[in-house]
Symmetry: C2
Subunit: 153 residues, 2 copies
């Protein structure tokens, strides 16, 4: 027996399919556009934006499993697996089996990976500068996006 909740009818106006009113469209274009800002900043280090996010996660806590990374970054392990191999090939991390549980992989920063962090500290400032938006505006956007993430969990 499901609870009968009185749900107010949704009104999306006369053209619900108008492209420039779709949140999904604005989201995907904004995501691609912001990632494009990072591209020239990451390219000198041989990094893509998804790889950069992996490093952010590892800079917060270093030996961690693929599953842990996947949950943190909201990715499928299958997406991370090849990415981690590329990051290993770049010399930023190592992949070895956990001694106590051979199923798990211990993904760990190398010295080069840890050293990169100092360089990367500049990146957020450059991105915010390039965006030219007020910090308060960005914080409000972040809060709104966080609401979406909670709603889609």
């Amino acid at each position: 027996m499901t609870q009968e909740t009185a749900r107010p009818p949704i009104d999306l106006g006369k053209d619900p399919l108008a492209l420039d009113r779709q949140v999904c469209f604005a989201l995907s274009v904004a995501s691609r556009s912001v990632i494009a800002i990072y591209r020239p900043l990451l390219e000198p280090h041989g990094l893509t934006h998804p790889q950069y996010l992996v490093l952010l996660a590892l800079w917060q806590s270093s030996p961690r499993s693929v599953r842990d990374l996947a949950e943190t970054l909201r990715h499928e392990p299958a997406t991370l697996s090849p990415m981690l191999k590329r990051l290993e090939a770049l010399g930023y991390l190592t992949r070895r089996r956990d001694a106590t549980d051979e199923r798990q992989l211990a993904v760990e920063l190398t010295e080069a990976g840890r050293a990169l962090r100092a360089e990367a500290e500049k990146i957020p400032y450059r991105v915010v500068e390039r965006l030219g938006m007020e910090l308060g505006e960005l914080e409000a956007l972040h809060a709104a996006l966080t609401r979406v993430l909670e709603a889609t969990r």
Copy 2:
């Protein structure tokens, strides 16, 4: 001679690289999460989300060139080219050379493509319902994303 603008220094706090404070991370996860809501709704029609956006653009104006579509959707023509072929294979549109300018392609909805619109009208309502967020909240998010798009133009 560049204008010397007094720029207030940006302060991103003590950990500028904290993952859960990055707008770029929230953006990419939110984008993927919202697209995931569309997936089961589009799958019955054999569509992916990017393909759905192409149809939204064509429902607004139908014979249009690849370049026109690319600018509207903020894509490279090289991204659209294979997508349009797949949409043609699905029977939703036709691709033919423009008679007056053989360089351009005239991308046009088929009868099936036009008919799909009536079905698609339901999709935005289902997505909003699934998100469970207030319309005002979504409009504010859309406005914030539009600001980002203006900033990255």
